[in-house]
């Protein structure tokens, strides 16, 4: 008989990740928390990814494999979201891997606090060097209160810098996601930032597990962040969509300054990490209409929390 509900739906978009897929799936299958369904959305892979998926599915009936034409990770996550039957949602990436207690600890916390979502800590795995590095930005220790649950109003740094705008270090309550109609943007890159930050500003209850439970792979072959020159404009679309969401929630009066500061930070990061030959395109946009649209233009220096960052931005677009 087919099951209708699970405690957690794990959603994994898969696109040509044969090299790392097994390590990822093994660390999901091996989770100490067992009451999960594992929804793998094969996003038109052309390598052996789909064979690997079939192999895992044949051995473990918690797997659900959905095949779709290539449409990007955002669309694949939405497909998984719509198909999910869990009380909670975990969105993982197919080249990362996880501590086997990740779901157990996140689940315990979200149940205990009755929160809308829980954030846990993570580090980066450098494939070539087989080494891990800690990033202080995943959960900013000076930004979060020592008690939980809390809302964005208790964050003591820029709201959009307290956590990172990616989905895989968080566990979401599905009813919360549905109530606020949260979806991933269906674009090539930066398709999860809108989802994550919309959740952040509408959540009444946020919790944190301050333990490293996930490992994000860096320098992965075929990782989209390395080939962003095909989609260098996506981050701007994501920022504008977030700006709209803030407006729609009636929070512009409160969050505009954090947003503009984040827009500077994120634009600068995109600029600095973009391949040199594409930078002039981005520079032209940022110097003109984008700076205007994001609300950066015309703000006095005191408006910016991080003066250095602001000046770096101005230098970059000069």
């Amino acid at each position: 008989m087919e099951r209708k509900n699970f405690e957690i739906s794990v959603i994994v978009p898969v696109y040509n990740s044969e090299k790392y897929l097994k390590q990822c799936l093994d660390s999901i299958v091996g989770q100490t928390f067992k009451d999960i369904e594992i929804i793998c959305v094969n996003d038109g892979s052309t390598d052996s990814s789909s064979q690997i998926l079939s192999e895992y599915a044949s051995k473990d009936d918690r797997f659900v494999i959905i095949n779709q034409e290539n449409g990007g990770a955002g669309k694949a996550r939405n497909t998984g979201l719509d198909a999910s039957r869990g009380k909670y949602l975990s969105f993982l990436d197919s080249d990362d891997f996880f501590e086997n207690t990740m779901l157990e600890k996140a689940y315990k916390k979200i149940e205990q606090d009755n929160s809308d979502f829980v954030v846990y800590n993570s580090d980066q795995y450098i494939t070539d060097k087989d080494d891990y590095i800690n990033l202080i930005c995943c959960i900013r220790p000076t930004a979060i209160p020592p008690y939980s649950p809390f809302s964005y109003r208790q964050l003591t740094e820029n709201v959009f810098k307290a956590f990172v705008g990616w989905a895989w270090d968080k566990l979401y309550r599905k009813s919360f996601v549905q109530e606020h109609k949260l979806y991933f943007q269906e674009q090539r890159t930066t398709n999860d930032m809108l989802f994550v930050f919309s959740a952040l500003i509408v959540a009444k209850k946020i919790s944190v597990v301050d333990e490293i439970l996930a490992h994000q792979r860096r320098d992965a072959d075929g990782s989209l962040s390395k080939t962003r020159e095909k989609s260098w404009f996506c981050f701007f679309d994501a920022l504008m969509a977030l700006k709209d969401r803030i407006e729609k929630e009636g929070l512009t009066w409160e969050l505009e300054r954090d947003f503009v500061n984040y827009a500077v930070h994120f634009s600068l990061w995109n600029y600095n990490t973009l391949a040199k030959q594409t930078r002039p395109l981005l520079k032209e946009k940022l110097a003109g209409e984008w700076q205007e649209a994001l609300g950066i233009k015309g703000k006095p220096e005191e408006y910016f929390y991080n003066k250095q960052e602001y000046h770096d931005f101005l230098d970059a677009v000069k």
Binding site: R153, T156, W253, E254
Partner: protein, 356 residues
């Protein structure tokens, strides 16, 4: 309709309860409703209430499992039917002219609420010692009708909710209720803030009435879940203020002033092992409030202003170090693992042997 509903939230107070109830029963103002909310007492409190209720038809008894001060008070507010509402804590008592006097003033001036000076008292070996507590230390605001919703500095007045009476219609129109958190954890703060941000006609009077018992010295708070109850209540207050950007704009400076007073008050009673984290959070919050332009240091008295300036001025890299200096006084109480951690931050591992 009776004139004042007096709410008495009751949890395990058998030794003081009779004195309290007698003082309410004997009020000169007779048209009152006495609403006793028993919040799951495990001593004889409920028996005492029932005994009084049998003899006096003005009593309304509400009894339920323990749900915390806020929930108990809200039940009382829901049940009240009088023109005005007063609050008496079950270990305190009131002189017999309190509600007749305050009711008269409220009616005469058409007030949303009126509050009066009060006494704090202790009883040692049968000897009563009482100390007058003025609501307004500057003495300049008494006996005039003012508009609290446009007088943020009125939040300087001594904070409590039981020294006055509130028009029920005003409470209902503005949906003023308490935060329903467990136990007794600063829930009067939220009620207090709401009355001041929404009230339009109020008065404070310099005749003292209410007798507030201070026999029980503050016992140390060592339950981790209770360390931040003040913060949680003030978070709730912030949500209420931010429902209307104009209200937040008007009251934000006094919000941070009030919270700082609460921090100081709370700091004294929490267990020493939590003091470091607690101070750390204070520094974090005030640095950020300052950065966002929500802090007006001129509202603070000089000693507090200097203390806050120090806490805010720290740069991130020097933060732990300076912060540690600030908390020098409590360093002998810091557990060893925490000391080790601080040492590591200050001097790194290589000089880890430095004496702390």
């Amino acid at each position: 309709m009776s004139k004042v509903s007096i709410l008495i939230p009751i949890y395990n107070v058998e030794s003081y309860l009779r004195e309290c109830l007698d003082s309410v029963v004997n009020q000169k103002l007779k048209e009152i409703e006495i609403i006793c909310i028993n919040d799951g007492s495990t001593d004889s409190s409920l028996d005492i209430i029932n005994e009084y209720a049998e003899k006096d038809s003005r009593f309304v008894v509400i009894s339920g499992p323990n749900g915390g001060y806020g929930k108990a008070m809200n039940k009382g507010l829901d049940a009240a039917t009088s023109e005005y509402i007063g609050i008496v804590e079950p270990d305190d008592y009131v002189p017999d002219n309190m509600f007749s006097d305050l009711y008269e003033i409220a009616i005469k001036n058409d007030l949303d609420f009126v509050k009066a000076d009060f006494f704090r008292f202790t009883t040692t070996n049968g000897i009563l010692e009482k100390k007058l507590e003025p609501l307004d230390k500057t003495g300049t605001h008494y006996n005039n009708v003012f508009d609290p919703s446009h007088t943020p500095e009125a939040l300087y007045f001594t904070i409590n909710t039981w020294c006055g009476i509130y028009r029920r219609d005003f409470i209902e129109k503005n949906h003023i209720r308490h935060h329903e958190t467990p136990g007794a954890s600063f829930q009067d703060n939220g009620f207090y803030f709401q009355t001041f941000i929404y009230g339009q006609r109020a008065m404070i009077v310099d005749t003292p009435y209410y007798m507030n018992r201070r026999d029980n010295p503050n016992s140390s708070v060592s339950n981790p879940n209770k360390i931040y109850t003040m913060n949680i209540e003030m978070d709730w207050v912030m949500d209420i203020l931010k429902k209307d950007p104009e209200i937040w704009e008007r009251f934000k400076y006094m919000y941070w002033w009030r919270k700082y007073q609460n921090y100081n008050f709370r700091f004294k009673v929490i267990d020493k092992s939590f003091k470091l984290d607690f101070l750390n959070r204070l520094c974090q919050e005030y640095k950020w409030a300052q950065m966002r332009g929500e802090l007006d240091l001129n509202l603070f008295e000089p000693g507090q202003r200097n203390d806050l300036k120090k806490k805010i001025a720290q740069t991130d890299s020097a933060y732990s170090k300076t912060y540690f200096m600030v908390s020098w006084k409590i360093k002998q109480h810091i557990p060893q693992p925490v000391k080790d951690f601080i040492k590591k931050i200050l001097w790194g591992n290589k000089n880890g042997k430095k004496k702390l």
